[in-house]
Symmetry: C2
Subunit: 339 residues, 2 copies
């Protein structure tokens, strides 16, 4: 029998809390055996929300936390002062071994700061990166780091490559994940100082299937499984990809409704178009795990609906059952000691 | 009467040289009075190509250069050793005042290196950036720098903002161009070290309409006219935008041809869809000017067809007639001295 997994869910985080959060987590519960959900949040709205659903009472717990960290608050200060917020209370449970994973759609900065300050890093990990799966025309790629550690060092990027490979192999099921580093040209001599320093270090790792540089135009085509980059660049990639997809689809829709002829055409192509759009909808791939912590922290999009929360919780179950953290610890401590 | 403008065109640069290059430049000639085109390239293919067209002989000149710089050559070495290449010969004409502008679809690295080494910087300019216009849902934005100077300093970025504003005002015709810096959050305290250092410097420039940070997801919606960023980030933005648009459109087309029902719909929506696609086709906006040199160097896409070359040449005419370089010199020398 697979081990029981306890996932703490921040009921107060994101634009659609607590409604979509509670709904999505309970949907995940239905699909998974040996899963317990622990909701953390303000008593009144959380209890009111839970009343709307029928679920196995023994598999759902509640922990109350009356403070809420707002999106605009400076993250480190918020983590230090709002001890009774859902993020701080939830992350402390993870730290104390009372849960295996924590999912939040709340302030990215607060979740990242809390992950480092409260949960803490695995031994040998320099900096835990945030690593979402992004949809491509051939599947999904892991973008690592997309916002946790700006102004990164080359040695951190090498660790990202290793952690990302383990994740793609054991959680997503890709046997020899192709690792590439984001660069402004295909040749090794291209790049900024950080990339030029990192490439030979990646080439020197026999455990990686390192394929060299990837130019940004090739990312949407899925030409690498693990896409390594510094956090600022990764954040730009993630948000530009999202913005370009949404803008373009809006423009196409506007165009289709512009004339009778195209309106008629739009009715005919709607089912097929919807299928394509769904392929590039990040929500079905769950949230972004923060790798290299002493517990799993998953950040889902601030605008997450139930489906994204559901997939994020399922992701936690897979991550935990695959013992990803043990695998990361083993591989990173086998390498040269990190600074 | 407007002054005569002489534009040197690299007939050997890009995937479609010399055919599309010659064709596009001659098309530009037809639309502009007081324009002379000087083609630089290998004698045989260039003369063979020119024979295909009828044009006013007095307005077209040829200069022969028998070497060609390949895309894969290390740029600085190529510029130093291939003295008889179209890029070196063309840029030398610009340097010597024999022309006002130089257009090439050849090696970006060689054009950038040649611009700096042969043409030279305007007084007061620290680093000349490459600044393409990118299509957005509301018009065009200038992305500056998209690949000329990696690992930039804050003071360079401030100069980009000033040069970009002058360009958008006088070439594109936007009265008070909104300037924003690419960042990973909307607040001033977000960002990496470079962005945090640059923001207060931009706020301190009364001549700029600085609106603060722009997140990458807002770029496709045209939320700024001048988008300031470090070259590595700018290059990633340019290429990812291009890659995402092309991938998504390919997927939509594939979807439309997937069933009889959607095939029928596709026929009906084709004209409207094509209109939308054209809006996001960078070729109609010409090439990327390298700002801050003692002459105008325009780099067009390596895959440029005639239409892009045509628009690039027209862009050179506008740039030259608006005396952009004098305006840049005046504004940059009025500021604090650059390092």
């Amino acid at each position: 029998m697979s081990k029981n997994v306890r996932v703490v869910v921040d009921a107060m985080g994101g634009d659609n809390a607590p409604g979509e959060i509670v709904k999505g987590a309970l949907q995940a519960l239905e699909t998974q055996k040996n899963l317990t959900i622990v909701f953390v949040g303000r008593k009144k709205p959380l209890e009111a929300e839970l009343k709307k659903y029928a679920y196995e009472a023994g598999r759902v717990e509640t922990v109350f936390a009356e403070e809420v960290i707002e999106m605009s608050e400076p993250p480190v200060a918020a983590i230090k002062h709002k001890k009774d917020s859902s993020i701080v209370v939830g992350l402390k449970m993870l730290k104390n071994g009372e849960a295996d994973a924590f999912v939040s759609a709340g302030s990215t900065g607060a979740v990242l700061a809390g992950g480092q300050l409260i949960v803490g890093r695995l031994g040998g990990v320099s900096r835990p990166p945030l690593a979402p799966l992004i949809p491509t025309s051939t599947g999904v790629s892991l973008l690592i780091d997309c916002g946790a550690n700006v102004d990164a060092r080359a040695s951190w990027l090498v660790q990202y490559a290793k952690m990302g490979s383990i994740y793609m192999k054991h959680v997503v099921g890709i046997e020899k994940p192709r690792v590439a580093i984001v660069n402004i040209g295909a040749e090794d001599e291209k790049g900024n100082a950080l990339v030029k320093e990192t490439i030979p270090l990646l080439r020197a790792c026999p455990e990686l299937n390192f394929t060299g540089s990837i130019e940004a135009r090739d990312i949407p085509y899925g030409r690498a499984d693990v896409i390594v980059c510094e956090a600022f660049v990764g954040n730009v990639i993630l948000k530009l990809f999202e913005g370009t997809c949404s803008m373009l689809m809006r423009e196409v829709k506007k165009t289709l409704l512009g004339s009778f002829r195209s309106k008629l055409g739009a009715v005919l192509i709607k089912p097929a178009l919807k299928k394509t759009l769904t392929n590039f909808d990040a929500s079905q791939y769950g949230g972004a795990p923060m790798l290299g912590l002493k517990g799993l922290v998953v950040k889902t999009h601030g605008s997450s609906k139930a489906v994204e929360v559901k997939h994020s919780v399922i992701q936690c179950v897979n991550f935990s059952r695959q013992n990803i953290n043990e695998k990361i610890s083993r591989q990173l401590s086998a390498g040269t000691s990190a600074e």
